[in-house]
Amino acid sequence: MSVVEKEKNNLDKEEKIVTALSKKLNKKVNIQRKKRLWVSIEPKEIVDACSIAYDMGFEHLSTISVTDWIEKNNFEIAYHLWSYKEKMLLTIKTRINRENPTISSVTSLWSKNAELCERECHEFYGVIFEGNVNLTPLMLEDWTGPPPFRKDFDWRKYVQQEYYDESNPREDIYFEVKK
């Protein structure tokens, strides 16, 4: 099979999946590039959408990532799912309000794997996953500050305040960035 034919076959395969997924999810599924699909949904549909995707073969939850869009005052949560059967990656994206970051958990589908990914997102972004019973701290020990990966957490300022003394001549070098 020539390269061109191969390429065409691949895209045909994606088109097929996109049509089936769009129909089931009732949303427009987009092709970002070869083997990469994405869809944007409402936060309340997340469990249903993931379970439809799971049934269609997207059984591997690669990871869950949160992006802090501070200017738009929301968090974008992306679920990256891989299909062993179709050999394709589907990203399901949804946006939740930054003031009240709550979303349903997908632990019913991916049990401990989802629990872990959500626990990480909770620790670093403060997103609450309803239904996840284990949102205890994972990496950070005795951390009492705000979720550290949020865009409004200024780690430079935090480190200066917590660990250095400006009046100490041996440490004032750490304040030069600010000046």
């Binding site: 690669s62 990871t63 990532s65 891989w82 062993y84 990656l89 049990s111 401990k112 950070l140 020990e141």
Partner: protein, 370 residues
């Protein structure tokens, strides 16, 4: 997991972080006699916050930073980061650079599997295995030193746009001589060893369904009977042009994970030899790249996946037209292997099997914590 009621006589023990064979990671096991009733994993000893650090740095700086995500396979993380930036910038990588990248990534896989063999030996008290593997790995580090300038950390040798420098003179010959040198170690490790059979056979069995559900990838998934490899399923660089096998075993125990490692070393050697044979001459950096990456031109996002020695590694990068990436999410393969899977395998096992199970998962605490 349901909470297990504590009985009189139950006691807790720490496996790590100060255990000679645990790495910077710890597991708290609750024991009843010799049996592990419950295991609680405790990551975070190596958390450096790479995802946040990368938001403050330009891609070329991040390229150097990406070495440090996993100490045991820095070149592969270099490659993964470079690919993510390449996709966002739309760089067309010269053929020669692709071949060099693949050669280095595969050499890195071989030395990482040597470490895997070494720590598995150490975990089960077979110190000779550890010494032999670490000793022979040193020959590989000499070659890395010769090519990249760093024995362990290549300092961003595989950078966005290609590789930093062309291969030095006679590098190909050195690599082929290296294979002859390390052949002894490979033969030594492949020999059927009664101690290994005793310690690893039917220990830490992970079924196919559990492996998929708990997010296993790479050698751990292949040892449980799923023929999945990012190099084959989602090819990057020149992997679709190369011939190599994907070893798969159905048993799902620690011994089959070890067998996978041994066969993968063979396959990696095959890939490197093919790449050296076919490597074209030419540039090693894309022509539209100035000394620095003009990341302001990049917009959009990418989810780039690679097959690392430990499994699927991925970087989700978002660019918004600023000098630095807006968001970088890193998926380390050990993250799922060492938390849900380890917990699952340790529950109801024997305490003496803890090191065998622990190391058969080929973990890297650095990529769990990031």
């Amino acid at each position: 997991m349901t909470e297990i009621e504590e009985r009189q006589g139950d006691f807790e023990m720490y496996f790590g972080p100060a255990h000679p064979g645990s790495g910077n990671f710890s597991v708290r096991v609750q024991l009843r006699g010799e049996r592990v009733m419950k295991a609680v994993v405790d990551p975070g000893y190596l958390h450096r916050g790479f995802e946040k650090l990368m938001e403050y740095r330009e891609p070329m700086q991040n390229s150097v930073l990406s070495d440090r995500i996993c100490v045991l396979e820095p070149l592969q993380w270099n490659l993964l980061h470079a690919e993510a930036v390449d996709t966002l910038m739309g760089y067309d990588i010269p053929e020669r650079a692709k071949y060099i990248r693949v050669i280095l990534a595969e050499l890195s896989r071989i030395q990482s599997h040597f470490i895997w063999y070494a720590v598995m030996s150490m975990g089960t008290g077979f110190t000779t295995g550890f010494n032999v593997a670490m000793g022979y790995r040193d020959y590989m580090l000499d070659v890395f030193d010769y090519i990249t300038g760093g024995r362990l950390y290549p300092a961003g040798y595989i950078c966005p746009g290609g590789v930093r420098k062309d291969l030095p003179e006679k590098a190909e010959k050195k690599i082929l001589t290296l294979f002859e040198k390390i052949d002894y170690m490979h033969k030594f490790a492949k020999k059927e060893n009664p101690v290994w059979l005793e310690r690893f056979k039917e220990v830490g069995v992970l079924t196919k369904e559990e492996a998929i559900k708990l997010g296993a990838t790479g050698p751990i998934l292949r040892a449980s009977g799923v023929a999945s490899d990012v190099r084959r399923d989602d090819p990057y660089e020149i992997y679709d042009e190369l011939e190599f096998e994907i070893p798969v075993f159905d048993e799902g125990d620690a011994y089959s994970r070890y067998l996978i490692a041994m066969q993968e070393i063979e396959e990696s050697k095959k890939i490197v030899k093919q790449a050296i044979d076919r490597m074209p001459k030419g540039e090693v950096k894309t022509s539209n790249m100035k000394p620095i990456v003009h990341f302001r031109k990049a917009k959009g996002e990418t989810y780039t996946r690679n097959e690392l020695s430990r499994g699927e590694g991925a970087i989700y990068m978002i660019a918004t037209g600023k000098k630095t990436p807006y968001r970088v999410k890193i998926r380390g393969p050990s993250f799922t292997h060492m938390i849900p899977i380890l917990k699952h395998l340790l529950t109801d096992s024997y305490y003496a099997d803890v090191p065998a199970i622990y190391w058969s998962l080929n973990q890297c605490p650095a990529d769990v914590d990031r």
